[in-house]
Subunit: 277 residues, 3 copies
C-alpha cells in the first residue's frame, strides 16, 4: 500500500473511530455525524430509539429532558454534575459525549470536568475514570479546550481543616489500621490530604460527585458520612432531595429507593439549618 | 475526496459499525459476518472463546445452552425475558444482539422487547435503556420489524387497581414526601399510573423484568415488594425459583445467593397458592 | 466492488477492529497502534488522559503504577490476578488488553488467565466472561499463545475434600433446596464438584478471584464464606489486607470500605495462624 493509501486509511480509521466515540445512542450514522458537527442540543430525535422504543423516545424528550431537567431545586449545572457522575461511575461512556457537551453548556467548567473524572478514579474505580478521559478529550478538542486550561497535576491545596481531618484519620486508623494498612495510608495521604484539597472542584461539588457515585453504585452503607460532609459544605436539604430525583432517572429507581431511606435519616439527625442558605 | 469515494467510505463505515454492533463476542470477524447473515442459532462455536477459554466454550454449549435453557419450570420465552433484562440492566450490549434474536425465536414479541427496554429505563437507568435501543434497532431491521409494529408513545392504559395503588402512593408519600418530593411524584405519575399500565407488556412480565433487574443489580432490599407483586400477578413459586437458576448464570452466583434468602422469606410469608395456577 | 477492493476493505476492517479492541484508553490512535506493536509496558504517557485529566495521568503514573503496584505484602502476580478480576467482573474490557499483557509479564500463566475467565462466568456473570475472551484471544495471538497451551474443556480434577464438601452441600440443600432446586444442583455439580476442582488455577488463586469479584461487585454478604475459604487455602492476613489496597484503586474506595469491615471480622474470628506461612 502506498503513502496516499496509508493516509486515506488513517483518515478513514480516524473518522470511524470518531463516529464511534461521539455517537449519541439511538442516532443513525448520518444523524450521528450531523449531531457531531452541529453539537446537537437536546438529543432531539434519536432515530435508533425511534426504531426500537417509541415510548422511550417520548419519555426522554417530554419527561426527562423537558420536565425533570427543568425542575427548580437543583441548578442545571448541578444536574449535569450528578448525571456525568452516574455515567462515569457506571462506565457508560457511550452516553458521555452528549452529557459532557450539555455539562459545558450548563456552566460546568472544563477544569471541573477534569477534576470530576480524577475524583471518580478513587471513588468509582480507576478504569471508569480512564475510560471517561477518552470521551472528555474528544469533546474538549471539539470545543478547542487545551490541556493548559485544565488543572495541573500539582496544584496549591485548599487549606486543611486540621482538627476534623485528624479526628477522621484517627478513627479510620483505629478501626482498620491493622486490617489494611495500605488502604488507611492512601485514604489519608492520597484522598483527604490531597485529592479533596485540589482547588479545581469546590468541596461541595466533590461531595455531590461522591454521593452521586455512592447512590449510582448501590453503596448505601457509605452514604451517611458523605451526605453529612456534603451538607456541611453547603448542600441544602432541598438540593439533596432533588439530586435523588435526578438520580432516579439516571441510576434507576431501585438505587434511589435504597438511598432515600438513608437521606431521610441524615436529614432527621442534622441540626436545623440556620436561616435560609 | 470525490463523491464516489465518499459513498464508498460511508458504505465502509456502515459495514464496520454493523460488524461491531452485531458481533457475538468470541467470534472472529469472518464468523461474525457469517453469524450476522445466517442469524446463527445457538452461538455454536465462538472462535474467540475457543482461542482463550476452551472450558468456557464447553460450559456455554453443553451446560448453559444445552442444559439450563432446556429445563422445565420456566418457559424459554420467560428465560429470554430474564436474560435480556440482565444484559440491559448491566449494560452488556455486546451480547444483546444474539439474545435479542433468541428472544424473538422464543416467542417474545417485538412489542414486548420495546416495552422491556422502556421499563428498564426507569428500573435500571436511562443510559442502559438508551444503549439497548441500538442493538434492538439493528435486530429489528434484520427481521423487517418496523416502528409501526411497536407500541406507540401514547397508549390506552390497562385499568388501575385504584385501592391498592392509593395505598401504595400514600405510604410512599408519608415515608418520603418531604425527603424527595420529585421521586415520590414521578413514582406515582410516571411509574405506577403510567408505565406499569402500558398494555404492551403484561403486569406479570413487567414484574419478571423488575425482579430480574433487582437481582442483577444486587438490589436485595427492593426484591420483597416486587416479588410479591410478581406473584400477585401470577408468577408461581416454581417459576420464581427457576428465574434464580437462570439468573445465577447471567447475573453471577453471588447476586443469586444474596437474593435467594429474600425469595425464601417471601415464599414463606405468602398464603399457600390456591390450587394450581 | 471487485476482489481487490474486497480484500482491502477486509484488511481495513480488521485493522480498525484491532485498534478498537486493543486500545489503551487515553492513547491517541497513533499511540495506540504503537502501543499495540511495542506492547507498551506501563502505559507510559496516555495522551487522552493528558488531554482531559493531567492530574489523573500523574496519579496513574506516580501513585498507582509507581507506588501501589510496587508495595510488598502481595506479589505483582497476585496484584495482576486481582486487577484482571475487577476488570472482568465489572465488564471493563477496554482496559483488559493492557492488564492482560501486564499479567503475563508478571508471571500469570496463559492457562491461569483462561481459568480466571471461566471461573468468573459463574461468579460475575456469563456475559462478563464472554466479553473477556475477546481481549484475551487478541493478547494470546500477539504472544503466540495457542489454544493447545490452555486447559482443555475436560480435565482430571483435583482431589475433593469430601467431608467438608458434603457438609457444604447439605447446608445449602437444607436452606435453599425447595426455593431454587436448580441453583442448588448447579452449585454442587458445576461449581464445587467441577469448576473449583479444575487444576489449571490453584484453589488459593480461585479464592483470590472470587473474593476480588465479591468486593468489586459490592457483594458484602458473600465475602465471609469465601475469605475464610481463601485463608484455609493459604492466603495470609497480610496478603488479604493488601488485596484491599489493590482493590481500592480498581474497584473504588466505597466498595473497599464496605468490604473492610467484613475482612476485619473474619480476621478476628479465625484461630491465629500457625507459625509463618
Amino acid at each position: 500500500m502506498n503513502n496516499i493509501d496509508n493516509k486515506r486509511t488513517a483518515s478513514r480509521m480516524m473518522r470511524v473511530t470518531t463516529a464511534l466515540l461521539c455517537c449519541i445512542p439511538g442516532l443513525g450514522l448520518a444523524d450521528q455525524a450531523a449531531a457531531h458537527v452541529k453539537n446537537l442540543p437536546g438529543a432531539a430525535a434519536p432515530s435508533g430509539m425511534k426504531a426500537a422504543a417509541p415510548a422511550l423516545e417520548h419519555y426522554t424528550h417530554d419527561l426527562l429532558l423537558g420536565d425533570v431537567w427543568q425542575r427548580p431545586g437543583l441548578s442545571p449545572r448541578d444536574r449535569s454534575i450528578v448525571t456525568l457522575t452516574v455515567l462515569i461511575a457506571r462506565d457508560q461512556s457511550t452516553e458521555l459525549p452528549f452529557y459532557l457537551r450539555r455539562a459545558l453548556d450548563n456552566g460546568v467548567k472544563p477544569s471541573e470536568i477534569s477534576e470530576i473524572i480524577t475524583h471518580l478514579a478513587f471513588y468509582a474505580g480507576w478504569a471508569n475514570a480512564t475510560a471517561a478521559t477518552n470521551a472528555a478529550a474528544t469533546v474538549f478538542a471539539e470545543r478547542g479546550i487545551a490541556a493548559d486550561q485544565l488543572p495541573a497535576a500539582k496544584v496549591r491545596h485548599l487549606p486543611l481543616d486540621k482538627q476534623s481531618e485528624e479526628k477522621r484519620a484517627a478513627m479510620v486508623e483505629e478501626n482498620f489500621g491493622k486490617v489494611a494498612p495500605g488502604v488507611v495510608k492512601y485514604t489519608t495521604d492520597a484522598l483527604f490530604r490531597d485529592l479533596w484539597l485540589r482547588p479545581g472542584l469546590a468541596p461541595r461539588d466533590r461531595s455531590i460527585v461522591t454521593v452521586s457515585a455512592l447512590v449510582a453504585g448501590g453503596q448505601v452503607a457509605q452514604i451517611s458520612f458523605h451526605l453529612n460532609r456534603a451538607m456541611d459544605s453547603g448542600l441544602t436539604e432541598k438540593e439533596a432531595g432533588e439530586m435523588l430525583t435526578q438520580l432516579a432517572f439516571y441510576a434507576g429507581w431501585p438505587n434511589v429507593f435504597s438511598a432515600m431511606a438513608v437521606f431521610k435519616e441524615v436529614f432527621a439527625q442534622r441540626p436545623p439549618a440556620v436561616s435560609a442558605r
